[in-house]
């Protein structure tokens, strides 16, 4: 199979993730979209690794997964505490950082 197709898929996934981040208000969904974007990136890394015949891209993909796991822990904690204090998980409600 032509590896370029993986790249197309990755681009599609990244675009979906990015649109989700921009459009959706629910923090959980936004979070999932970010994960989607990260995994799209992982996909490209792995695809390029395959295309160039070395393992560098795959190693980086592992790194990304570790970082993403850590990020999930922190991100979910923030969302939970946000929900507890405001009774809402909408990112637009948390718009206090303005003049």
């Amino acid at each position: 199979m032509n590896p370029v197709n993986y790249l197309y898929l990755a681009a599609l996934l990244f675009t979906i993730g990015a649109s989700g981040v921009l459009i959706r208000r629910n923090a959980i969904v936004v979070f999932m979209c970010i994960e989607l974007m990260l995994n799209a990136c992982n996909l490209t890394l792995v695809a390029f690794s395959r295309m160039h015949g070395n393992l560098d891209g795959q190693i980086i993909a592992f790194f990304t997964m570790v970082v993403a796991a850590a990020e999930v822990v922190i991100g979910l904690a923030i969302i939970v505490s946000l929900f507890r204090s405001r009774h809402s998980a909408s990112v637009d409600d948390a718009s206090l950082m303005k003049l």
């Binding site: 990015a18 981040v21 921009l22 459009i23 208000r25 936004v30 990112v91 637009d92 948390a94 718009s95 206090l96 950082m97 303005k98 003049l99």
Partner: protein
């Protein structure tokens, strides 16, 4: 002998330090300390003088360098003294008259509880004035110049509890500062032009300097002289300076300090000789002041202010003579010395009259005092005869010489100046006769004051009359002594130079003309104030009289032109500051504020909109990178 020069200054300076720092425990002896130290300075002066007389005319000048004051490369300022014939003349006048006035003040200030301080200030004045006349460079002269200004300020405002005295002191100080600016600018110009400010090198180098620069220096020196010597246009302070105690008026504002301007011009003669334009201005200032002071003197009822007008006028004579160049330098100084005698005598006489009349100064409340104070009457009368130029007395010789010198200037200028000096002589005769008649002749016009105390005119104590008698001797004999055999001329000629000029008329004609105007002046005064009784309340008078009573509107002029002008200037500057400067600054701030207000809207707190800008930015970066690759 050189080492004695510093002693001249040291004695009164020590007196000032002791009296002003010594505190109240010196109250009982303070006046004696002051007087003895002034007299000591005079004795040193006499010793130096006799020594000088024993030498040839060319090597009379003494020089003493005390220490290097500001030794910087290319800028050498020394505290060094130079005593030549010109300085010697001043030293004797200052210390001599100064000592007499110290003695007089012992009696005059007897009831003043701040007498010690008064003597401290007088000694301070003597020290500063001596520094002024024996300095060997302009910078040290400037020190003395400021010193006498300070002493004058302190003494005019000595009775500072009177608001008028405090104001007068401030006024004198401020007006003098204008002149002092002139002197400091002149010194700076000298330094840039000649690279030094010692008298010798500066005055020798005038030949090689452009006339324009010399004119500028000359005019600045003249400005300085105008301030210190109360010449038009900086004359307004002298009349008010009479608020000070009378001995001060006699010493500082008649005999010595106000003649510092004449000294400055004569000392800088070489500069003025090489700058005819500056010299012409000097003559004009002298001529204008001569008439100005005389006219003011005619209208004043306050005896001290009438004498102040007279002082201004007589110094106008000296400045005029000094402006004539080598023709007049010697006579300017000669008149200065004789004037020192008779004007100090007149002021002391006025002080004695006030002392006997409960400090009344209005001559309309005097009258007939000759019976009550005979010594004052005789000494004042001799001073009076001397100042109007009665034949044989001091003023006759010195003033006559100035009038001759004015004619000898030659050409139309000579005729105009001669006429002005003659007219001045007539007015002098008029106003001095008026003072004399109103004070000592006629009926008594004094009234009990508000408290019911009628003044009991009485002769003053010995400490006051003796100085008056000594000064009266000077007023009578000094002029003759100086003139017979041209003694004074030969004495000063090595320093100032002399030139006979081209007299269009003979000296006898000038003397005769002077006598005629003298008689006319006295006769008019007799007709107005001697023949008929003097009204105790001043009549309204003509327009000129009323203007002269207000010092020929000098204060009004200063108020309208300088005060109002200054106010308008500051107001317009404030306007420019508020509109232009503040406008630019505030405008910048406001536009920055507006811009940031608009930029602030971008920070709306919505995480998603930040994400949009992030994605947008990333997209732009990638597009740009791709574009660059494609190109």
């Amino acid at each position: 002998m050189e080492n004695l020069i510093a002693l001249l200054v040291a004695a009164p300076l020590l007196g000032a330090a002791v009296l002003l720092c010594g505190g109240r425990r010196l109250d009982r002896a303070g006046h004696w300390i002051g007087t003895v130290l002034a007299a000591a300075s005079f004795v040193v002066g006499v010793v130096l003088f006799t020594d000088m007389l024993g030498k040839g005319a060319e090597d009379r000048a003494l020089h003493q360098k005390l220490f290097s004051w500001i030794p910087v490369e290319g800028f050498q300022a020394d505290v060094a003294f130079q005593l030549d014939q010109l300085s010697m003349t001043f030293v004797l006048l200052i210390t001599g008259v100064g000592t007499l006035i110290h003695i007089y003040s012992i009696g005059y200030m007897e009831h003043d509880e701040r007498r010690r301080r008064f003597f401290g200030y007088l000694n301070l004045f003597l020290a500063a004035m001596l520094i002024l006349v024996i300095a060997d460079n302009y910078l040290l002269l400037y020190v003395g110049w400021e010193g006498v200004g300070l002493a004058s300020y302190l003494l005019i405002g000595f009775w500072q509890h009177k608001p008028s005295a405090a104001t007068a002191a401030k006024k004198a100080f401020l007006v003098n500062r204008v002149g002092d600016m002139g002197l400091s600018i002149a010194i700076m110009l000298m330094f840039t032009t000649f690279g030094t400010f010692a008298f010798g090198p500066v005055l020798e180098a005038t030949g090689e300097t452009s006339e324009g620069k010399l004119t500028a220096i000359g005019l600045m020196l003249l400005l300085a002289a105008c301030g210190k010597s109360a010449q038009v246009p900086l004359q307004s302070w002298l009349g008010d300076a009479m608020e000070g105690p009378t001995p001060v008026s006699a010493l500082i504002h008649a005999a010595t300090m106000v003649t510092a301007g004449v000294y400055l011009i004569v000392r800088s003669g070489a500069i003025f000789n090489a700058a005819p334009d500056a010299q012409l201005v000097v003559v004009v200032v002298g001529a204008v002041t001569l008439l100005f002071g005389a006219i003011v003197g005619c209208a004043k009822d306050d005896i001290k202010k009438a004498l102040a007008g007279s002082t201004m006028s007589q110094i106008g004579y000296m400045i005029l003579a000094a402006g004539l160049g080598p023709i007049g330098y010697v006579f300017a100084i000669m008149h200065l010395v004789t004037h020192g005698f008779f004007k100090a005598g007149l002021f002391l006489g006025a002080g004695s009259v006030m002392h006997g009349m409960n400090d009344e100064v209005d001559m309309r409340k005097y009258g007939g005092l000759r019976k009550f104070m005979p010594v004052t009457f005789v000494t004042f009368g001799l001073g009076y005869l001397a100042i109007i130029g009665f034949p044989g007395l001091s003023g006759f010789f010195s003033k006559d010489k100035i009038i001759e010198a004015a004619f000898a200037k030659g050409g139309t200028e000579g005729w105009i100046l001669g006429a002005v000096t003659l007219l001045g002589a007539a007015i002098t005769a008029f106003y001095m006769t008026r003072v004399m008649l109103m004070t000592f002749f006629g009926e008594k016009r004094w009234q009990p004051d508000a408290g019911g105390h009628e003044p009991h005119p009485h002769e003053s104590p010995k400490s006051m009359t003796i100085p008056m008698i000594v000064l009266a001797f000077g007023s009578v004999f000094a002029g003759g002594f100086f003139s017979i055999g041209d003694r004074f001329l030969h004495w000063l000629e090595p320093v100032t130079g002399h030139d006979h000029g081209h007299a269009p008329v003979s000296a006898t004609t000038v003397t005769a003309a002077t006598m005629v105007v003298l008689v006319i002046g006295v006769a008019i005064a007799w007709a107005m104030y001697g023949r008929r009784p003097v009204p105790a309340v001043a009549p309204r008078g003509s327009l000129l009289t009323r203007a002269a009573r207000r010092d020929l509107l000098q204060d009004d002029f200063n108020h309208v032109v300088l005060v109002r002008g200054g106010e308008h200037l500051t107001r317009s500057l404030v306007y420019v500051d508020h509109t232009l400067v503040d406008g630019v600054v505030n405008g910048t701030a406001a536009s920055m504020g507006g811009l940031s207000g608009r930029l602030r809207k971008l920070q709306n707190g919505y995480a998603r909109s930040y994400a949009v800008s992030m994605f947008g930015g990333a997209a732009v970066l990638i597009a740009a990178t791709l574009l660059m690759r494609a190109v």
